[in-house]
Each structure stands twice: as C-alpha cells, then as structure tokens.
Symmetry: C2
Subunit: 429 residues, 2 copies
C-alpha cells in the first residue's frame, strides 16, 4: 500500500493483507469502491446490477468472521453472463431482464468460499457474443472498452473493483483487458468450472480473470480453479520468449507493432532470450476452425431463445445463429480435427520457449460503440486451450493502452504467469 492510495486502488493482495490484519475492514474497502462507482458510473456504465446495501452486508459478514481464504474482504465484479442466486442475472439480453437464477455459478461459489465479496454484476455483450452493451472506455467515453467482458474490464481499469470475472470464447477477456490497460488472464481450458455460466460455445467458453496486476489476476484464478500454487509465482530470471511471426501479425496497427518490437527489445536487454518463430503451417487454418466451431455451437446453445423469443434477439446475433445452424456437422467435426492438430503442432514450440508473445489486440481501443473490436489475436489461442495473459506494454498514438499477450501450453499457467509478471516489472521500469 503506497501512501495516499485509496482503498479502492489497492491490489487484491494488499486488501487481503489489511483486512486480515485488521488494518481496515472489508466494509471500508467496499465503501470506497461504491464511492468510486458513484462518482464514475454515469460516464462508464460498467454495471447492470449494483445494490450497495447488499454489498456492504456481505462485507460485514466477512468482517464478523475470521480470515477465510485468498480473497478475504476483496470485492469482485461478476460479468452478467454468470449466475448469482442473490442478484439478477440478465445475460446481456432483454429476454432475461430481471431473471433470478436458483444458484450461484460454481465460480461465484468459489469466490464467496474464499472470503470474496460479489460487488455486483457487470455489463456483457448480448449472451457474451458480439452485440455491444452500454459500457464506455473509462479513459475515453467515445471508445469501446472491448468485450464481451466490457463492464468487468472497465470496472477494474477505473478502480471501481480490484478484480473481475470475465469469460472468453473468442477474445472476450484478453481484448478488453488490452484495451483498458489492465491484466487479463484466460486460464487453461477446463481449469475453471463453467456451471452457471450461460454457454455460448461448449468447446471454447473459458472463465477468466481481470485485475490490475498479474499477481492479482493469478490470485483470482487460484480461487476459481482451486489452484493455490498460483498464489506463489516463481521468478523468471531469463525467460525464453517466442516472438510469434504469424501471417496475421501484419494486421496489427503500426503503434501496436512498434510496441511489440520495443517490448521484445527491452525483454532482451533485461536478460530474456527472445527469438522469432514462424507458426507451423496448420496455424493458417485455425482461425476458420474457431469460427465454425463457435457459430455451430452457438446455434445449438441459443436455439431455445431463437425459437421462443425471436423478437428479442439482435439482428447481429440472429445472423450468427442462423449461420451456425446451417453449418454441416461434418464440417464441424473436421474443424475439431484441425484444432486438435493445431494443439499437437504447438507442443514442439515449447521445447525451446517458455511463452509465445503476440499483441493482445490489433491496437488501441477503437472509436465508436457499434463493435467491441476484433479478436483476431485471441481466437486461435482460445481454441488451442492454453493459458493467455495480457499485460499493458505502452500507449498508442491516442494515448490509449496497448496490451501484449503471453501464451503457454495447456496446464502450464504458472510458468506463463511468472513470465508475465517478470515482463510487467520490466515494462513498468
């Protein structure tokens, strides 16, 4: 805790320390977050549900009990695609406005069991697909914060909440985190139980974390996934970093490319081994594979809504669902085969490298609110199931954040987080 910090600006790690030691109450932490929201929500529109009294009541329960785990007294914002038994859950759709689930999602239950406080529900795009919600970028209201975890990213970036849960099917954690200048962490596929998360695509949906430091995002996933080893990240003295020279890299904006090259050079200066790597040939087919798998599965997951509530589905979503329902199952099977081949082809890369380095997004958060941006640099990695962590590496030509992304092999999250934490130190030096 630096002198002058307000409680809402602390890291989750610091909050746990001071609420556990008695230097501050969870209630005081929650109140400063609520004050910040009060001050800023009109501009940012990060929240779909916020009940100050209920948040304070949760904090008082924590304050009345003992230390209860790795999120003791820490407020967490929850993307509104995720079920909460004590708060409405609308999935970003008018169909479910005011809907109250019968249960907490597994990830919400895990947060509560670790002493965390569910501060409220944050804006998601419609069913975590593409149709945007109301949230603006905290640093420039004319820009998108990214999505689909729009409110979660904005709330963390704007010091409304130290932590937030998001979900990623394409690039819905990493991209908004990159746009908002915070840390986004999509863990290995399968690490965080998805019960209570409204499914978009069973083969791709992944629950992830947002925080303002790598250690904080790792702390949240340590609880979500029940993996305490993430609370204690090892050092990464001389990380081996593969600079991923994909054929899509040229689609990144100039300032993002400059940021990438500059960061690579700084990583080298600070002792990393950084080398260019050309992706295996199968990589050219993976983005199309992601596309078909996502749409095919959406067409099934949201079939009920399309039949029962056709008038309350956006035109953008309807066209995706219809495209997915028209995809032949044999093509879907073939795309899964390609994805499996991609996962296999990735393994040898990690014999020589600890992580792959790519942009977290095409560039700065774009102007306008008609789209939450392009997930080109994220989709393939979601499909390949390994961990991805984005760290803010600089600013673009309009002063907006640029995030770089570190990627690892399935279940090798701790190594990727360690390298990302090392990079975070180098980049803020």
């Amino acid at each position: 805790m630096r002198p002058g910090d307000r409680l809402n600006e602390l890291t989750a790690g610091d909050i746990v320390r001071i609420t556990s030691s008695g230097d501050a109450t969870a209630e005081a932490v929650v109140r400063t977050c609520l004050d910040r929201i009060d001050e800023r929500e009109q501009a940012v529109n990060a929240w779909t549900h916020l009940d100050a009294d209920h948040a304070i009541a949760q904090a008082r329960v924590i304050d009345a009990g003992g230390t209860r785990g790795a999120l003791h007294g820490v407020p967490v914002a929850v993307k509104d695609i995720i079920a909460t038994a004590d708060m409405p859950t609308g999935y970003g759709s008018p169909i479910y406005a005011g809907h109250r689930p019968a249960w907490d999602a597994a990830c919400v239950a895990a947060i509560r069991a670790a002493g965390g406080i569910i501060l409220g529900k944050t804006v998601t795009t419609e069913f975590a697909s593409s149709h945007p919600g109301k949230t603006a970028h905290p640093q420039d209201p004319a820009r998108t914060p990214g999505g689909s975890s729009s409110g979660s990213a904005a709330a963390v970036a704007d010091y409304m909440s130290p932590l937030a849960i998001g979900t990623q099917t394409g690039g819905s954690v990493i991209r908004p985190a990159s746009f908002c200048g915070i840390v986004g962490y999509k863990p290995s596929f399968g690490w965080v139980n998805r019960h209570g998360v409204k499914p978009l695509s069973e083969s791709l949906d992944t629950v992830g974390a947002m925080g303002r430091t790598v250690a904080d995002a790792a702390r949240l996933v340590s609880v979500l996934a029940g993996r305490p080893a993430l609370l204690d990240l090892p050092g990464a003295a001389r990380p081996r970093i593969a600079l991923w020279r994909s054929d899509t890299l040229g689609k990144a904006e100039d300032d993002m490319l400059a940021c990438l090259e500059d960061a690579a050079s700084r990583f080298s200066t600070h002792g990393a081994y950084v080398a260019d790597v050309t992706p295996p040939a199968i990589f050219s087919d993976l983005d199309a594979a992601h596309h078909e798998i996502e749409f095919y599965e959406m067409g099934k997951s949201l079939a009920f809504e399309l039949i029962a509530h056709p008038g309350q589905i956006s035109a953008a979503l309807r066209s995706r669902l219809e495209a997915g329902q028209a995809c032949p199952p044999e093509l879907y099977d073939e795309k899964h085969r390609i994805a499996a081949e991609g996962r296999f082809a990735l393994r040898p890369v990690f014999a020589d490298f600890d992580v792959i380095l790519t942009p977290g997004a095409l560039g700065e958060a774009p102007l306008g609110h008609g789209s939450t941006g392009n997930a080109l640099f994220n989709r393939v990695w979601t499909l390949l199931y390994g961990p991805a962590v984005t760290v803010c590496a600089g600013r673009g030509r309009h002063g907006m954040p640029l995030g770089l992304q570190f990627i690892g092999l399935l279940n090798d999250d701790r190594r990727v987080l360690a390298v990302a934490q090392w990079a975070e130190t180098v980049l803020t030096r």
Copy 2:
C-alpha cells in the same frame, strides 16, 4: 406396425409415419402412452412430473400443424436433470423441488423443433450421481432399473414412452438400458449440446438416447445432434467385431459372459469377423482416471449446493463431493493426460475393426433399491468419448435382460449404429 400393436407400443419411426400420413393423430399416440402410464406408474414410479393435459395440448399443436421433422408426433420422456421451461425440473434433489427453469435445455428445444412432444420428466438419481430415486424395474419391482437415467429406461421398457433422453457421466444411459432390455445410445462426446443439463462433470457428461430399437435411438440423436445422416443407417454385411478381452471382463457375471460368447458365436455364424483383442496397457489406468476426473469436477459443479443447502445433500453424494474437493489439481491434470493417451491408443484398434464388443453391464439388474448398479463396463468408454450402443442380447438366470455394448471411435457413430442394428437383427432371429 404389427396387427394388434397399441399405439404406445409402436416404434418412433412408425409413429412419425402414421401421424404424418394422417392414419393416427399425435393426440391419440399421447393418450395411449398416458393410459399405459396410468395403468403402470404405481408399480414402476418412472415419473417425477406428468401433466396429461399439457402433453395432450402439445400433441394438438402438432396435429394442427404440418409435418415438422423427424419426431413428428413422437412422445419423448425427459430425464429430470434436464431443464424444461414449461415443466418443473428438480434434478433429483429436494433442493430444487418445484424449480422452474427460465429455458428449455438445448436438447429439449431440438425435440420440440422436430415435432416431438415432451411427455413429462423422468426420475433421475440425485443430480445424476449415485443416490437412487424411486423407480423400480418394470419386470421385477424388487430390482433396480439402473441409473442414473432410471425413469427414462423404465418408461421406454414399459411402453410408457417410445423414446427418452438420458445422460451418461459413468454408465447412466448404457447400464439402465442394458438392465431394462432396451437400446441405449451414448453418442460421441460433443454431439449433443448440454446447455440446460445440470452439470456433474464437464469432461464426461453426455446426453444420450433410449428407445426400443437401434433405429429409434438413432432417430432421437439425429434430432438432438442435428445429424440427419443417422436416420438412414447403412447395412453392415460383414462387420468386423473386436471382442474386448479386458482384465475387467472376469468381473462380469457368468450368465453375462455366456451371453457374450454366445452372441459372438452367432455374429460369426451370420458373417461377422469376430476376434479377441487385448486392450493396450494404458487401459488398466483408465477406470481410475475416470474416477478422479468425475469426482474432482463434481466437487466444483455442486459446490454451491454443498455450501448453501448442506442438509439436503445425501450422505453418499456429500462424501463424493468432499473426496472430489480434496483431489489435488495436479492429479486431475495427470488423469486427463492419461485419458488423452487412452484415446490415442484406441485408434489403431479401429484400423482392423468396426466396433468393440463388451457387456453393457455386469449382468442382470440387481435386487434392491439401495444402488443402481455398477458402471464398470461403461466408465472407460465415456472417458474415451466414442459412441456406445447397447442392444438386448438375451436373458439371465432370473429371466432379466442382458445387454451387450458396441463401441466405436469418436464421431464414428453411424458405423457403430449400423453394426448394432445388424446385431439386433441377428439376435432377434
């Protein structure tokens, strides 16, 4: 349709034919099913929810419209682990007695879109785990019908419904089908969207079908999975059948082993190539891998219920959840690695064979209602993700059905169904 058949005794294929041609109404079909239920439910206890008026109303809507797909006018029983917007969904737990979901599960939506009628909800064990529900075996009320899809299997076997949906995490479709003398079909993992199915184990839960013929079970999955190719199964003139000589085969009861050997011999006589195959070494580790993966994931999926409603969880389930929550994540990761190795090791077998043949269960449906039987011959195949189809192959020493199981490679369902249909013909000759 054979002379003297009652409408409730018809196959789904016959029902579609007569309701489409106008030879009978969907309402008449539903009414005969309801009559049968009326007559038999007190002994069988297959249903948790049945509203005759609502079932008839659905049938009238079908009768008023045109032909609407592969289940036109066909009643389908739905396991009560699966969400229905118009019927209570209790998940086999007192926690959710009377719960009404906001949506139809994706599989239910698919049935309705194909002209099917959701007849009612059938008994499941508690959360589709082990604690039994109230259902008795239709042929001997002192015996279990198997589980967890207990009511679905009993309803189909007892001519209450031509088709039913079940789910399988261990052996919850194949085992009860084998016990009840019907066809159970667990499709390839990933074929049937699971939205609205209360999750037990994300890596294992699979929606499946029960019917009285292979063609009927295939018909239901053709709709659930959106794979019309299953409506037209090819012939299987000289199927290549691997008789799976696993080290667990000796655990089958004597009458089941005799049934297996006898069927193999009849298959040979009718032109099949049948040969003994010894499983690859990795197979000895797969049952334990299934166990850890299932329990670990259950511990997360049902964390909310264990925290919020501890007094309404059975002792058996509680001990499973606690065991799962105590499983180290590194062990879970290792078990997934073993499962992947098992899937890889299975591929060469199918270079030489169309299907693997094993018992569908240890033997006849056991006496008593304290357990729904042992899933030893099912768990490994659920873990390996390929299709499994059980067909009744004879009777045991107490006159109860014995089912054999045909297994294939992931996505090779049509071939396995074709062989199972061929076997069905041979076995009923």
